[in-house]
């Protein structure tokens, strides 16, 4: 088992004819992902990389029975692409796009909440990979190896760094998920921790966080109450200048949460070991 995606996942790439969309669709196909088509409005009926292009998600899903979509649409149109995928019946939507206005995401989330059983990963994320089975996103496939470590991260390239360290040290991954760096995202640490806890392939978990928000503090609390598997964490930004203040309101809401130090302490308090540099993660897992 793995979580979210496996060898059976049928993937549609929204924005498949763009520079990044076509490059990464090709990389995914080479990895072994079952890419069944792409969507670019106005280019329906043609093919790219040996798969059909459709004008709409509705056409794509009814022709291919796809259950996963991957979005490379520019920021101005990306939240509409998410809604289109949800309306077409896609179960798992992975949005790579960076730069979507946060209030557009608030409204998109409120809309998705009215539809049962739809999961959004991202936006502004690197995607998901279940090594040896499927890759949906932009993560470099060659650094992964099938195994028993579940990886969940708010970052992109930092995730690659840590996974590369794990793989080099002889570990493999069950599934690796970049949940995205934006303030408003579809799937959070707790959602993924819950799935890893229930996944028999996953024996231990690596959580990669960073300064800002309170997602790590909440994850620490959840781990204490619910997770029985070993968890190791890394928090980026111990030396970063404090996050720019959001007026008085930011201070009132956060009540001091959000610093890297606070997050490290929250994890250590519940028995989660925290690496001080990325290369230590593999050592702490041993």
């Amino acid at each position: 088992m793995s979580i979210l995606i496996n060898e059976k996942s049928k993937v549609i790439v929204q924005g498949i004819t763009g520079r990044d969309g076509s490059f990464h669709a090709e990389q995914m196909i080479q990895y072994g992902t079952n890419v069944v088509g792409g969507v670019t409005p106005g280019k329906g009926g043609k093919t790219i990389l040996g798969v059909p292009i459709f004008d709409s998600m509705q056409d794509a899903v009814s022709s291919t029975q796809a259950d996963v979509s991957l979005i490379f649409v520019p920021p101005a149109y990306a939240s509409d692409a998410i809604i289109e995928a949800a309306d077409a019946g896609i179960q798992l939507i992975v949005c790579i796009t960076e730069g979507i206005p946060v209030n557009q995401m608030l409204k998109t989330q409120a809309y998705l909440a009215t539809k049962p059983n739809i999961r959004l990963i991202g936006p502004n994320c690197p995607g998901v990979v279940s090594p040896g089975k499927s890759k949906v996103g932009i993560l470099p496939g060659h650094i992964f190896k099938q195994g028993n470590v579940g990886v969940v991260s708010r970052s992109g390239t930092l995730t690659y760094e840590i996974v590369y360290g794990l793989t080099t040290a002889g570990f493999g991954e069950s599934t690796c998920i970049g949940i995205g760096g934006d303030p408003i995202i579809g799937t959070d640490f707790i959602d993924v921790l819950t799935m890893f806890n229930e996944d028999p392939q996953t024996e231990s978990i690596v959580l990669i966080g960073e300064i800002g928000g309170d997602a790590e503090e909440k994850a620490a609390d959840y781990i204490k109450k619910n997770i029985r598997k070993k968890v190791v964490a890394f928090i980026a930004g111990v030396t970063a200048p404090p996050e720019k203040r959001m007026g008085h309101a930011g201070a009132i809401i956060s009540q001091g949460m959000g610093t890297a130090q606070g997050k490290v302490e929250a994890f250590e308090k519940v028995g989660v070991k925290v690496a001080s540099i990325p290369s230590q993660v593999a050592d702490l897992l041993k």
Binding site: A236, A240, I253
Partner: protein
């Protein structure tokens, strides 16, 4: 991006949110003119700077007549408030009030909704109030389907205006909040804050205003383009970076770093510190592979006299390593660059990239810790 008070109040005025009579000026002569002709006396002279604490720094003063306006305007213009030069002042009608309230609409990550924060104990000490007297802070979510929930907001309204006279009705208060939420959404804000809010002639009025705009939303708001340059508090390097579309934050150390991705950039800074060095900056060259970005990044790094050595840390994903290396080759031809460089490249097309770096004689490794330890030695002159 943060709007200055007068800019935020222009947004309020257009949205039908009541503000005092006021005008932004840049000279004492203009200040006297608007005080005489439109604002009246007494009036308040307020420094327009993008930092807090201007009142305590002497940047807000009351003037009773035209001589005082001239004198105070001359005094405040040209002041340095926390490193910001005051070149604009607001001349605003002085309005008496019974009580200062606090009101804001802010992005609330946890509920994924805008949160309305209200307090009858507004003013400069609002953050202390929130810590020491949390019962005086009220929070109410704005729901996308039902908007405000009357049963809940009425309770807050009663607590907000308990024992106060000449107050707005509940429906007037709710209408005012709704205008604020409209500003929040229509302008792609992440914060709309009024502190203090006062009650004047039974109506809510904003005596001060703060709006934070979502940088991701700025492309959709050409009306704010004119403010982008004037509002930025940035170093020379930060300015160059903004113009080149790079994310750069100046720090105090001697090791410049160039990294792809914000998380890895932060982790790289943490690792430099771990091995005994000090980062000179945070620089994220971003996800897409454009050699021009690398050239610009090199120019920015070379312009900082504190830098003693440079660390490049690239983990290619969406970024293609060979594009980065090409950028280097071009950059080193165009930019006068004599600093020692330690380089780590791995990921998509990394083999080609490492060959290019070897051709231009830059030491390159695949191991991050090794590259960091090398640059720390270089910066110390070892």
């Amino acid at each position: 991006m943060k709007l200055l008070e007068y800019q935020a109040k222009e947004v309020f005025r257009d949205a039908g949110i009541r503000i005092p009579k006021e005008s932004m000026v840049t000279t004492p002569q203009e200040a006297v003119k608007v005080a005489n002709e439109s604002v009246g006396y007494p009036c308040v002279i307020k420094a327009q700077v993008p930092v807090g604490g201007r009142g305590k720094a002497g940047g807000v003063k009351v003037a009773k007549n035209s001589q005082e306006v001239h004198q105070l305007a001359s005094q405040i213009l040209g002041m340095d408030i926390k490193g910001c030069l005051v070149d604009k002042i607001l001349v605003s009608e002085a309005i008496s009030f019974q009580n200062e309230y606090y009101l804001s609409v802010v992005l609330h990550r946890a509920s994924k909704k805008p949160m309305i924060i209200m307090s009858p104990a507004g003013g400069v000490d609002i953050e202390d109030i929130s810590k020491n007297q949390p019962e005086k802070i009220f929070q109410e979510e704005y729901d996308f389907i039902v908007g405000f929930k009357d049963y809940s907001l009425i309770k807050i309204y009663k607590k907000m205006f308990h024992n106060q006279e000449n107050i707005p009705t509940y429906h007037e208060f709710k209408a005012f909040l709704t205008k604020l939420v409209d500003v929040y959404f229509k302008k792609d804000a992440t914060l709309v804050e009024i502190n203090p809010l006062i009650i004047h002639e039974k109506e809510c009025m904003a005596l001060d205003a703060k709006i934070l705009l979502d940088d991701n939303g700025l492309d959709f708001h050409p009306e704010f383009q004119k403010y982008i340059l004037s509002n930025a508090e940035e170093t020379e390097q930060e300015k160059m970076a903004r113009e080149a579309n790079l994310t750069y934050i100046s720090l105090d150390g001697s090791i410049a770093c160039m990294v792809n991705g914000a998380g890895l950039a932060m982790a790289t800074m943490d690792t430099i510190k771990h091995f005994g060095g000090n980062p000179a900056n945070f620089l994220d060259i971003g996800g897409s592979s454009n050699p021009e970005k690398v050239v610009n990044a090199l120019k920015i790094i070379a312009s900082n006299p504190k830098v003693k050595a440079v660390l490049i840390n690239i983990f290619g994903g969406i970024t293609r390593c060979d594009d980065i290396a090409q950028g280097f080759r071009q950059g080193l031809e165009k930019v006068d660059f004599n600093l020692p460089i330690s380089c780590r490249i791995i990921g998509t097309n990394d083999e080609i990239a490492r060959n290019i770096m070897r051709e231009i004689q830059i030491p390159v490794t695949t191991d991050m810790d090794e590259a960091v330890q090398n640059v720390v030695k270089m910066a110390k002159g070892e």
